[in-house]
């Protein structure tokens, strides 16, 4: 599903150039659950941003379902994102001015799903995430765990092929963290490919494969049994 080859990314300031990704090559098959680990500054989040088409690589190739997307323009990236990729962030990134229902509904609005269908799909996913009773609440009225469940609901409401999760339990206690990991595992079992950045060995154990990065390069890959 994803094939990146010799991917490069630099961050430049006036005086310093930092290499975030140094000719990194990774393959991720459809239905896989991959965890990416490594120390701070090793390039994990940069990789995730490039995979999610939120950032551009400075070199190398990125094939998504066999199509080269590294040189996609803004509009093509937005289209690819909204139909294929769901994001789950460490800090949830819900829109404060929208209710739980409206936050989850948002991706459907951008993909042009009719209003009547949207209601049914949002309710279904909220039900699945066990957050239906909070549908009219605003994010700031929810606990961290509940907010992350809403964020996962928003990520999956469009039935994306790929979910990119950036330290999804980083802001949660262990109980809520486990709940979120269970949700991601369920989604993966239903066929969604998941790539997750994490610092937590515990969370990484939910994945099929752990890719460990250092200085923008793969230093080790662990297959989980």
């Amino acid at each position: 599903m994803i094939k990146i080859t010799e991917l490069q990314k630099y961050y430049r300031t006036e005086e310093v150039e930092t290499i975030a990704l140094n000719k990194l090559s990774i393959d991720v098959k459809e239905g896989e659950f991959v965890a990416i680990m490594g120390p701070s500054g090793c390039g994990k989040s940069t990789l995730l941003n490039i995979l999610g088409l939120l950032d551009d690589p400075d070199g190398g190739s990125y094939l998504f379902n066999g199509i080269e997307v590294a040189d996609f323009n803004e509009r093509k990236r937005a289209d690819l994102r909204k139909h294929n990729i769901g994001f789950v962030f460490q800090s949830f990134n819900l829109i404060d001015e929208l209710t739980v229902f409206e936050n989850v509904e948002l991706p459907l609005i951008y993909t042009g799903v009719p209003a009547s269908e949207r209601v049914a799909r949002v309710e279904k996913v909220l039900d699945k995430m066990q957050i239906m009773h909070r549908r009219n609440h605003y994010p700031q009225q929810l606990s961290g765990g509940q907010q992350q469940r809403v964020a996962v609901a928003r990520a999956v409401v469009n039935n994306p092929k790929l979910i990119l999760a950036d330290e999804p339990t980083g802001n949660l206690d262990s109980s809520n963290g486990n709940e979120v990991m269970e949700l991601l595992t369920d989604l993966n079992e239903q066929g969604t490919t998941i790539i997750m950045v994490t610092h937590s060995e515990h969370d990484a154990r939910y994945s099929h494969r752990i890719i460990r990065l250092l200085d923008g390069q793969t230093v080790m890959e662990n297959i989980m049994i």
Binding site: N49, G52, L54, D55, E74, R75, A78, D79, R81, K82, H83, G86, F87, F89, N93, L94, I95, D96, E97, L98, E102, E105, L106, P107, I109, Y110, T111, R154, N158
Partner: protein, 800 residues
């Protein structure tokens, strides 16, 4: 999608109540100012638009010998109308109009004065589209002694009785019995012609009228569609030579046409313009429109500034929306729809302000402007469309800026809101304050010039002088009135003249016959006065003596002004004393002598230079203005006394009076209106700019709360924090002053050129404006700066 945008927009507005209120208030004030001023502008442009024919007014440029400069006048000669029609096939029709102030009419035992009666040709109603509600447009004025009344006049004279066919009588020099042949709907306020009745010229025709040379009426011509008035104008000199019988006429007169629709607003340089209700220079109207748009622009800049300043708060939302697939265009549309919604809120608030301020503006401008959105869907559509444009203009930059955020950066918490964006915001603040300071400087000069005109010594005293109009009948008892009035200690002087000071005075042809040269024919401003005129008005003589009281001297003595003296001596050796003119032959019909030379005095407004003029005492020519100087301490008693004397002598004539000061206030009315409106707009510009500055200062303080906390922990004083926060804005306001100064200097220099007598452009005004604008800005900022500076640093550092 739209529903989602509106929902988000509404919740954002509600969440940030202070910013929203500042934005809405600023835009509302800007929009209200713009709507009111634009309504005024459209009202001004609507003058005479209801007439459908291709009508022009005939005007003259007069260049008479002895005049300092040529003058444009709205007047023309009685024979011109018919001869133009005769000569040029392009002239389809003509009508002449003569105004008759306070026209006395009698019906049965009712005797009244109509404020304005027009004598016109029978074609008047065929050319102009004043609505006739009874009578026949073609024949109503055809026969002599026909009169057409306006509805209000008919009601005043006849009550509920049908006036058609009834007769009314005018007693005067021409006693005429008029038959009512038509009723007109009351004249719209946006008509330059305002009258109470029309009667046919044939009712009052005298043979002398048909002479060339006398300019005492207005002539309107209807040109065939497609006629080029300029080409026609080029043929007018030959036409005048052909019909006037005077081979030198083109030396003195040049004719030109002014489209009827331009008469109201494009005749500022035309004098003796007696039929021009609420004449108002379109330059001033355009100036208002420009200033109103600047005020609105300032309000829009506020919006841009506050929105981009707050961009960090919206950045995460942009990142989230983009990460789930929102395109840039969709986000831009979202932000634009927010600004449009905000503009619509501002419109509602603005319309309330319009509703509150309109009566004041009507009172100030003397207009009858109304904005009824329900009755006029077109206006409503224009205003709503304009609001949407305002929303787009205000929101386009924030929309483009916000939607450009890169999700990867904003989700990490970086918004790139410093650097260039801060610079752009500063540019906008400088732009805003440059406009506001420009308007403040303009206001100071406009107000100063107006005050200068009102307080400038015109060369005569106008305090405590009451003027009372006289007509052919009341003038006959002038000497009796004078005697009776002077019998009271409440009255300190009585005199009379043919005109009131502060007006365009009539001109006439005169002869000057120097002792050592040939006679010269001149055309000069004349003022027929009583022999004590100079004493009452304190007009000083620089040579010779005043009029002698002897009746035998009447019509033989002339007092000329200094300007005319210089004109008469211009061909003489340079050192010829001015007094050498005393005793030289001068005069109109029969030559008299120059007995005195007066110091120049401004018999007109200070817009005009003192013209060459002369005064003479010719009792049998009659007076039209009685001037009574009253005892200043007892104004009410003096007025009551004058009224009692008037009523005793003229029991059936209303007593009307005006203080000369008030007359001059009328002369400067348009200037006063301009001054007030510019002042109001400048005030609004400052208020709106300060609203924006307040918002930005509050935002800056909020953004730097941690820095302030750290500085305080390290020992910074409250004063140093206030200085730190205020300094950046002070610099911007100073920069705005530097930019505004040359612009304001240039604009004021140009504007002041329209006054013959004007104030100097002094640097002190600029410096004062700079100090004032800084003071206002500091006052605005200091609230937020002091609040931030005295806050407990522990709280801000803990929250970080």
């Amino acid at each position: 999608m739209i529903k989602n945008y509106i929902k988000t927009a509404w919740r954002n507005l509600w969440k940030n109540k202070i910013f929203s209120a500042l934005n809405i208030a600023g835009l509302a004030v800007g929009m209200a100012a713009c709507i009111v001023i634009m309504s005024f502008v459209f009202y001004e442009k609507s003058f005479d638009n209801f007439h459908t024919k291709n009508i022009y007014r005939l005007n003259e440029v007069q260049s008479f010998p002895g005049m300092v400069s040529s003058q444009k006048v709205g007047l023309s000669m009685y024979p011109m109308g018919p001869t133009l029609k005769n000569e040029f096939p392009q002239v389809k029709n003509f009508t002449r109009v003569k105004w008759n102030d306070k026209y006395q009419v009698t019906y049965q035992d009712k005797r009244m004065f109509l404020p304005q009666a027009f004598s016109v040709d029978s074609t008047f109603l065929q050319m102009f589209d004043f609505k006739l509600i009874a009578g026949d447009r073609k024949t109503a004025l055809e026969k002599p002694n026909s009169i057409v009344l306006t509805q209000a006049t008919a009601k005043k004279i006849f009550g509920d009785v049908n006036p058609l066919g009834k007769t009314i009588t005018h007693y005067g020099n021409d006693t005429v019995i008029f038959a009512v042949t038509g009723i007109l709907q009351d004249i719209p306020k946006n008509s330059q012609m305002q009258f109470d009745c029309l009667f046919s010229f044939s009712s009052v025709y005298h043979k002398w009228m048909n002479r060339w040379g006398g300019n005492w009426l207005d002539t309107y011509v209807e040109l065939a569609p497609g006629t080029d008035a300029t080409i026609l104008e080029s043929k007018l000199p030959a036409y005048m030579l052909k019909y006037s019988g005077r081979p030198d006429i083109t030396k003195f007169y040049k004719l030109f046409f002014l489209p009827l629709k331009d008469v109201h607003a494009n005749a500022a340089d035309i004098g003796l313009d007696y039929i021009n209700y609420q004449k108002f220079d379109k330059k001033a109207t355009n100036l208002f429109a420009i200033i109103a748009l600047i005020v609105l622009l300032i309000a829009c800049i506020n919006f841009m500034n506050l929105s981009t300043a707050r961009s960090a708060e919206r950045a995460r939302e942009v990142g989230v929306r983009k990460s789930i697939g929102a395109r840039r265009l969709e986000l831009a549309v979202q932000f634009l729809s927010e600004t449009i919604m905000l503009s619509l809120f501002a419109l509602v608030a603005g319309m309330i302000l319009v509703w509150i301020s309109l009566p004041y503006i009507n009172n100030l401008s003397g207009r009858d402007i109304s904005i009824n959105l329900w009755a006029s869907p077109g206006t409503a559509a224009i205003i709503i469309g304009f609001t949407i444009v305002v929303g787009i203009v205000s929101g386009i930059y924030p929309a483009v800026y916000l939607s450009s955020f890169k999700p990867v950066q904003v989700l990490k918490g970086s918004t790139e809101s410093g650097g260039n964006k801060g610079t752009f915001r500063n540019v906008l603040v400088v732009g805003q304050f440059t406009s506001a300071v420009f308007l403040m400087i303009a206001t100071f000069f406009v107000v100063k010039q107006l005050r200068y005109m009102q307080q400038q010594d015109p060369g005569f005293t106008r305090d405590q002088v009451v003027t009372v109009p006289l007509d052919g009948n009341t003038d006959q008892k002038y000497d009796v009135l004078k005697q009776q009035l002077l019998s009271s200690s409440l009255i300190t002087g009585v005199t009379a003249a043919q005109d009131v000071l502060g007006s365009h005075l009539d001109q006439t042809g005169v002869t000057f016959k120097p002792k050592n040269g040939p006679a010269k024919q001149l055309a000069l401003t004349q003022l027929v006065v009583d022999n004590n005129y100079l004493n009452l008005f304190g007009i000083k003589l620089i040579a010779g003596k005043n009029f002698s009281p002897a009746k035998s001297a009447s019509g033989r003595e002339y007092i000329i002004n200094e300007e005319l003296a210089h004109e008469l001596l211009k061909d003489q050796p340079k050192n010829t004393p001015i007094a050498s003119l005393i005793g030289q032959s001068f005069g109109n019909d029969s030559l008299g002598v120059i007995t005195g030379i007066s110091k120049n005095f401004n018999f007109n407004s200070l817009h005009y230079k003192v013209e060459t003029m002369f005064m003479f005492n010719q009792r049998n020519w009659g007076y039209s203005q009685l001037s009574v100087k009253i005892n200043g301490g007892k104004t009410n008693e003096a007025l009551a006394f004058i009224k009692s004397v008037w009523t005793k002598n003229f029991p059936d004539r209303p007593f009307e009076y005006q203080f000369l000061d008030d007359h001059f206030n009328d002369v400067y009315k348009a200037d006063a209106q301009i001054s007030k409106i510019v002042s109001i707009l400048a005030g609004l510009a400052i208020i709106i700019s300060c609203l924006g500055l307040f918002g930005l200062a509050s935002y800056a303080a909020e953004k730097r709360v941690k820095e302030i906390g750290v500085r305080k922990v390290l020992g910074a004083s409250v004063q140093s924090i206030v200085l730190l926060l205020s300094g950046q804005f002070v610099k911007l306001v100073l920069m705005a002053n530097l930019l505004a100064w040359p612009l304001a200097w240039y604009a004021m220099h140009k504007w002041l050129q329209s006054f013959a007598y004007r104030i100097d452009i002094k640097l002190s005004v600029f410096v004062f404006t700079a100090v004032l604008s800084l003071f206002i800005a500091l006052l605005t900022i200091s609230f937020q700066s002091v609040k931030a500076a005295i806050a407990n640093p522990v709280k801000s550092l803990r929250s970080e």
